[in-house]
Symmetry: C2
Subunit: 274 residues, 2 copies
């Protein structure tokens, strides 16, 4: 049986090649790919090494590997081109129309992070991450005045990873507060949240999925019981309605999608761009 390998080649981290490749490959159902990332190809030797790996995969797999490439330098690109594969290269495809439109030649140099704007962006992301950590799970600081957004929802509805992702990817200041018996019994939110009402976003999820996630953590006891998760989700949704809090059902979404939908719902501006 033939095995198809997909390579992601880069003179940097390979994240762009992977993101691009993943978007395209999900358009083909039922295909099984072996995925290999070869980052930091920044010398002739490394380019030749990559060619060796691609040719080996072609030989062993019996089919052409697919090569997503974001190498910038022409000499390394020329070496890679020699490999036995289907080459899909964003610079081949898009650089020429961009040069024509911008009336400027591109630098063909690896776009390494540098200069003050990148340092600033690094700092902003770090500060946002520290904010998310300090204001996680009800936090101790409850520094909600400077928050861009405050997520509320039951335990394991996705609040923590979403806040961290918002911080790392977008530099957004995201706090989160767990809804527990205290809120369910009174049917109300604490005053310090009501004051920040316009920053609140609710996360909800289907009972079945929440039960599945909670079981991973603690299989036994009430925490993951069908009755308990249904009760908590029902009460949380009552609170969302009472305070008119926009909410997102996270069941079908990846962390990226939840984060992106939050920005889209609230209109919160990202503080950094990738």
């Amino acid at each position: 049986m033939s095995e198809r390998t997909v390579f992601f080649l880069s003179d940097q981290t390979g994240v762009t090649a992977e993101t691009l490749g993943h978007s395209l490959l999900t358009q083909f159902d039922g295909q099984d790919f072996r995925q290999v990332t070869l980052p930091f190809i920044d010398s002739e030797d490394k380019a030749k090494e990559a060619v060796g790996k691609i040719n080996l995969a072609a030989k062993k797999g019996g089919v052409k590997p697919i090569v997503f490439s974001t190498l910038v330098q022409d000499d390394f690109r020329a070496i890679i081109r020699e490999a036995e594969g289907l080459h899909l290269d964003i610079f081949d495809a898009f650089l020429e129309p961009l040069e024509d439109e911008l009336k400027q030649k591109s630098t063909h140099e690896p776009g390494r992070a540098h200069g003050m704007s990148d340092i600033e962006s690094y700092m902003k992301r770090i500060e946002a991450t520290n904010f998310a950590l300090a204001n996680d799970d009800g936090g101790i600081t409850r520094n909600y005045e400077v928050a861009d957004v405050i997520l509320i929802g039951v335990s394991r509805s996705g609040k923590t990873p979403t806040c961290l992702y918002l911080a790392l990817q977008y530099g957004v200041y995201a706090a989160n507060f767990p809804l527990t018996d205290e809120e369910f019994d009174s049917g109300t939110l604490p005053d310090f949240l009501v004051k920040q009402r316009e920053k609140l976003v609710g996360l909800t999820i289907t009972p079945a999925r929440l039960q599945q996630i909670r079981k991973e953590r603690r299989a036994l006891g009430q925490y993951a019981s069908a009755q308990q998760v249904r009760y908590e989700l029902r009460e949380a949704e009552k609170i969302f309605r009472k305070y008119d809090v926009p909410h997102i059902n996270t069941t079908e979404f990846s962390i990226e999608e939840i984060a992106s939908r939050i920005l889209n719902t609230t209109g919160v501006e990202r503080r950094v761009r990738p």
Copy 2:
């Protein structure tokens, strides 16, 4: 003066379009772009709304906007095409050669996260994030047996955001332990780290940059003094050498680059793919 707008269009989050666009635009020095992301274009109305925004930007800016698009559905793509812009579309560029090579038509359906593999991947990322949080900054659990990698370095060398990024992006179990006076005075690592020696990666940074970062946090006192940061970095590097710990200078790198270099240096396999 003309202002050039760059649009990132998607029926999903827009992350792919942004990543792609950013890689290409960094090839053009000295250009200043206004960047607008329009995610979740999943209806005719939203596609038409996007066209309106692009045309308005063309008119106001006096130059063609650049449109990076990852819309999958043909009817919405056709609407977007009508907008006044330079259209750069990964599906236009790459879907046909992929279909030819794979001998399969693509689905042309938005690749929403679904199915068990995505739930599994979500869970893995969440579990890895929880691990990173529990094992941050020396942690309380010190659950180092199950760690994939343990970062060591002085305060503010980038350990925490890197661990969180490794967890969220790659599902990798990353712990971190801060090097402080205890280690500097003895010149040794604690036993529980020595036991996990093959998992250790050191982070280092230039004194000037570390000072700058620390000043953001606490401007006064010894913590951010030139003398203190030089002392700590020198002692940390002695320890890296003593235990033969591979180390990465993070000064010039983004969080993505540090994370990617760690995987590359250690050979640790990611647990999830984007």
